[in-house]
């Protein structure tokens, strides 16, 4: 979600946001049908190239954003590697049982998670929320009530961040003693969540009334931003299709691992 980030617009920004969303969802489902670890390793290159060269953001920012991905890779794969079922035992120690099958299955899950993460990052870095919601109402016929509520709600968030800062200062001045253990949780509810949420609920209510007072309705409307499909959407499809074909071919012809299907064959 870019509010004030500095970036150059690229062809990924010019894609139709709703099309981008739907196409990404298909890619997501498609990834679930890849069970060959060789293929998914190669496929990961496709979103990686896009993130690195075509999101229009500074490299430094991209690197910072990708740090959690490493942790994600480890955490997604580790339980399967240590505790997954398999027949070719590599190592066994207490409850930990690493087999060849479980190892590659874990690796596969890690790469899968990485792919989702990269695709999500591409979407977030190249889509302006306002255009996404305009596009959702125009291309996917999402009722304006939902789409415009989203846009209004996004506007409230920065105000909440500011209020959070004020709240923190106010509590510092008040000299609130920090409770211990379970009480700490209930304390943070009353001190932070309640003021911020109640303030936002009241604000949201007022904004909704204001929107209705401006004759907002679900009927026929025109659009300030007209969102259409363009050649950039075609370009993206072409990139993915050619890319996937190449990577699948590489995965089959130039495999890096011995296993070709990570599903448990029992």
């Amino acid at each position: 979600m870019q509010l004030t980030l500095d970036y150059n617009e690229t062809w990924l920004h010019r894609m139709n946001p709703a099309f981008k969303l739907v196409f990404f969802l298909f890619l997501f489902l498609g990834l679930l049908f890849i069970h060959n670890p060789n293929i998914i390793t190669y496929v990961t290159l496709l979103p990686l190239i896009l993130v690195a060269f075509f999101t229009g953001h500074k490299r430094k920012l991209l690197l910072i954003l990708m740090i959690p991905f490493l942790l994600l890779f480890v955490s997604s794969s580790s339980s399967m590697i240590f505790f997954g079922q398999g027949t070719t035992t590599w190592w066994k120690w207490g409850l930990i049982h690493i087999t060849e099958e479980s190892f590659y299955r874990g690796l596969h899950i890690g790469f899968r998670a990485l792919n989702f993460a990269l695709l999500g990052l591409i979407f977030a870095l190249t889509t302006r929320p306002v255009l996404l919601f305009y596009s959702l109402t125009q291309q996917l016929k999402v009722p304006p009530r939902f789409a415009y509520s989203f846009m209004a709600a996004v506007r409230i968030l920065p105000m909440m961040v500011e209020e959070f800062q004020q709240l923190k200062n106010a509590l510092l001045v008040r000299g609130v003693k920090k409770e211990k253990g379970w009480k700490r949780i209930t304390q943070s509810i009353t001190l932070y969540a309640v003021p911020l949420l109640s303030q936002s609920i009241r604000r949201a209510h007022r904004i909704a009334v204001a929107m209705e007072s401006k004759q907002f309705h679900n009927g026929k409307r025109t659009y300030y931003y007209e969102t259409r499909l363009s050649k950039f959407d075609g370009l993206f499809v072409l990139y993915i299709v050619l890319g996937v074909v190449t990577m699948v071919w590489l995965g089959l012809e130039v495999p890096t691992y011995e296993i070709t299907d990570v599903r448990n064959s029992d």
Partner: protein, 192 residues
């Protein structure tokens, strides 16, 4: 059926987006407690079900839980979640779980018990997704059972009990009266 008004939708989405940000911040927390593979960390997973329950307890109308959980996931996705698009699908399925429980009680019961049940249902939703996404059925049985119980316990504690207390604290401030319909007594008083 009580149809959602614009203010219901907007309030639901605002609540959801607040949790969407928490969802995003929760990612590293979860990843930190998880890598040991013993799934004890899955107790914190329940945080990812909370938006639906909280919004439903506040607004008390059909569709709110599904909308809230989907919106929270969208928010998490739009701020660049490391789980990418998967959060959207997880969100929808989890939200359906929560919604289903409140629907079973015909949108008439909003107690801690029902909230806890909704947490369990959301946990079930997330586990269904995990079968497709993370091959969890290929885990050793004891490990799978550990995963399931930690996930369900987290759902009960965070999305159930914690959510219930949060809304109860909000009720005391009087803000929820904005979204609750007037009673028949109020209408009758007009005719006196």
């Amino acid at each position: 059926m009580k149809r959602l008004k614009l203010s219901d939708i907007l309030i639901t989405i605002v609540i959801a987006l607040v949790f969407g940000i928490i969802y995003k911040l929760w990612g590293p927390v979860y990843n930190l407690v998880k890598p040991f593979g013993l799934h004890v960390g899955d107790i914190v997973y329940g945080m990812w079900f909370i938006a639906g329950t909280v919004a439903m307890l506040i607004l008390r109308k059909p569709g709110v839980a599904l909308l809230a959980e989907t919106a929270a996931a969208s928010g998490e996705f739009l701020v660049g979640s490391e789980y990418g698009l998967s959060v959207l699908l997880y969100g929808i399925v989890q939200g359906l779980g929560t919604e289903l429980v409140f629907a079973l009680f015909r949108y008439k019961r909003y107690t801690a018990f029902v909230a806890a049940l909704s947490g369990i249902a959301a946990a079930a939703g997330s586990l269904i997704m995990d079968v497709a996404y993370g091959y969890i059925l290929d885990l050793a049985l004891w490990n799978l059972l550990l995963l399931i119980s930690a996930r369900v316990l987290g759902g009960i504690l965070i999305a159930g009990i914690f959510a219930y207390f949060l809304v109860e604290a909000l009720e005391k401030t009087g803000v929820t009266s904005l979204v609750r319909p007037a009673s028949h007594e109020d209408f009758k008083a007009l005719d006196k």
